[in-house]
């Protein structure tokens, strides 16, 4: 099976202090119809990895090494014009904050329709029909296209974001902590929806999260990041069921389990930095 996305030794540094490697030699593969979760704490480089794929790194950061190969093409070698053609069309994106990612003064139907007009040239009745069917796919009645974002709940806004991201039937979906701001029952619904869409549309999903519970629910493969580097990766059953790296084990040990049987154990970073150096 050929990879949809192949990260090869991606390395990202701040322009002003290039010796600080925020993302260091990160390599992994994502296949169509599969979900790869990138998991780590704040500052582990997981969001920067996602932003690098889309070419959305801030100007203060630069990629100094490595390739991002999507459908056989190195995304970093593309012009910003070419990248715009891919972003939103072949690669969909969902972010954490559904309120700040939507424009408050535009109807949600218009916002979903924008990329359909931009990439597929849809207008008028055809556009309206497509927007309505997208809303229905994510579980929102089609007439909600005329609502403004503040008229929707947090979960509905995130559904609108998902409708936007899948509008052009992308080959890959990047979701950066899409359920972190949501209530637990809404989170469960959104995860289920994403998983169904992934299967139905045969998308590859790159899912950024800090929550191992979420990982266990939706991942096929897991990439564990710590201080910019991948410490462990592999199929979800292996990484969560039989972690090989002390950091993965330590991170799992501080997740409270729902049965309350496992004692909580915070991470001993001093030990870890010593122990992690082979």
């Amino acid at each position: 099976m050929t990879a949809l996305l192949r990260m090869e030794e991606l390395t990202v540094v701040p322009v002003k202090s290039p010796q600080r490697k925020l993302v260091n030699q990160v390599s992994f593969v994502l296949e169509s119809g599969k979900t790869t979760c990138v998991v780590g704490e704040s500052g582990s480089g997981k969001s920067l990895t996602a932003l690098s794929v889309m070419g959305l790194l801030s100007e203060q950061l630069q990629r100094i090494h490595g390739r991002v190969i999507f459908q056989g093409r190195d995304l970093a070698s593309l012009s910003s014009e070419e990248m715009r053609g891919i972003r939103g069309k072949q690669i969909g994106m969902i972010f954490q904050e559904p309120m700040t990612s939507l424009n408050p003064v535009l109807k949600v139907g218009y916002q979903i329709g924008e990329s359909l007009t931009e990439h597929l040239g849809l207008r008028g009745k055809a556009l309206r029909a497509k927007v309505g069917s997208l809303l229905e796919q994510v579980g929102i009645p089609a007439e909600r296209a005329d609502s403004y974002p503040d008229e929707l709940s947090g979960g509905q806004r995130q559904r609108v974001m998902i409708a936007m991201s899948i509008a052009c039937e992308p080959a890959m979906l990047i979701a950066d902590e899409p359920t972190t701001a949501l209530d637990v029952t809404v989170q469960a619904q959104i995860l289920k929806l994403l998983d169904e869409l992934k299967t139905r549309m045969n998308m590859g999903m790159l899912f950024i999260t800090h929550d191992f519970g979420v990982v266990a629910d939706i991942a096929d493969d897991v990439v564990v990041m710590f201080r910019g580097e991948i410490v462990e990766s592999g199929p979800v059953a292996n990484v969560l069921g039989n972690p090989q790296h002390p950091y993965t084990q330590a991170l799992l040990d501080c997740v409270p389990d729902a049965d309350g049987k496992k004692p909580l154990k915070p991470i001993d970073y001093a030990w870890l930095t010593k122990g992690a150096n082979p």
Binding site: E41, V184, G213, V255, G260, P266
Partner: protein
């Protein structure tokens, strides 16, 4: 059965909400709709619920930070609503709060030493040197150093700020601490540190915690008793083991089933 230290009976709190055309109409939203809870001395009562369930309103009403429409809150036999301003201020020493957002709840223009000492000054507890000694002792107890007292909040990480917030509340040696989502803004590794710290301090200082949270995994670890809130009402309450093992209400079951990774992780642990 330990004795009750904080008892709330039939609390009702409504907020006016603008609605209708151009917001001209006024409706009332019941944030607390006949809520009764009981916190036992030395125990932790977790109040769980989703956004808008009224759990934070409950915390504020219990501490008389928000006025109630009706109902009564009894702390060690005193009806808090019947106290004079002066008496209430005095009793506040025993009722402290730890807030969710460690970035918003510390005054950025005060040094950490001043932040922690402020309560001692207000309540006029001990001489200046005794106060200083208590502050130093407390800051060390929560895992920071004496040198940190000279610093400002922005110099600390989220987890460290939450330690400062805990020191500020506990330096007064309160009896009841209301913790409003104290770990939900923190990374999971930092969350574990803070939960363990809170538990150690509870044992050392015989504290009773009212712990507000939306995270049912955290509840399982820290609570003795649980009250589940939904739309301003307590739909179910009981001790943590029986509530998790045999939830009586549909809503509680839905909440428990929505915990991410519950079945797969448990399965993996059993296999591994």
């Amino acid at each position: 059965m330990s004795e009750a230290i904080l008892v709330a009976r039939h609390l009702v709190k409504t907020y006016p909400q603008r609605g209708g055309l151009f917001g001209l109409g006024q409706q009332k939203v019941k944030a607390l709709d006949d809520v009764s809870i009981q916190l036992n001395a030395g125990e932790t009562l977790a109040v769980v619920g989703e956004s808008g369930s009224g759990k934070s309103t409950l915390a504020r009403c219990l501490l008389q930070l928000l006025p109630l429409d009706s109902g009564e809150v009894q702390f060690q036999g005193h009806d808090l609503a019947k106290l004079t301003g002066k008496e209430l201020r005095a009793i506040r020493r025993d009722l402290q709060m730890v807030f969710q957002d460690p970035f918003a709840s510390l005054n950025p223009r005060m040094r950490v030493g001043e932040i922690i000492a402020e309560g001692l000054l207000i309540h006029d507890l001990g001489t200046a040197s005794e106060q200083q000694r208590k502050v130093v002792q407390m800051v060390k107890r929560v895992g920071l150093s004496e040198a940190d007292l000279q610093k400002y909040p922005h110099e600390f990480s989220g987890g460290q700020r939450q330690r400062i917030g805990i020191a500020r509340a506990l330096v007064l040696e309160p009896k009841v601490v209301v913790c409003d989502e104290p770990v939900s803004a923190l990374d999971v590794s930092i969350q574990a540190q803070i939960l363990l710290l809170l538990r150690e301090l509870q044992q050392e200082m015989q504290l009773s915690y009212l712990f507000i949270t939306h995270d049912l995994r955290v509840v399982r670890h820290i609570a003795d008793q649980v009250a589940v809130m939904y739309k301003g009402r307590v739909v179910e309450q009981g001790d943590v083991d029986s509530l998790y093992q045999s939830p009586q209400q549909e809503y509680t079951r839905n909440l428990l089933n929505a915990i991410p990774g519950r079945r797969p992780l448990a399965g993996l642990a059993a296999a591994g």
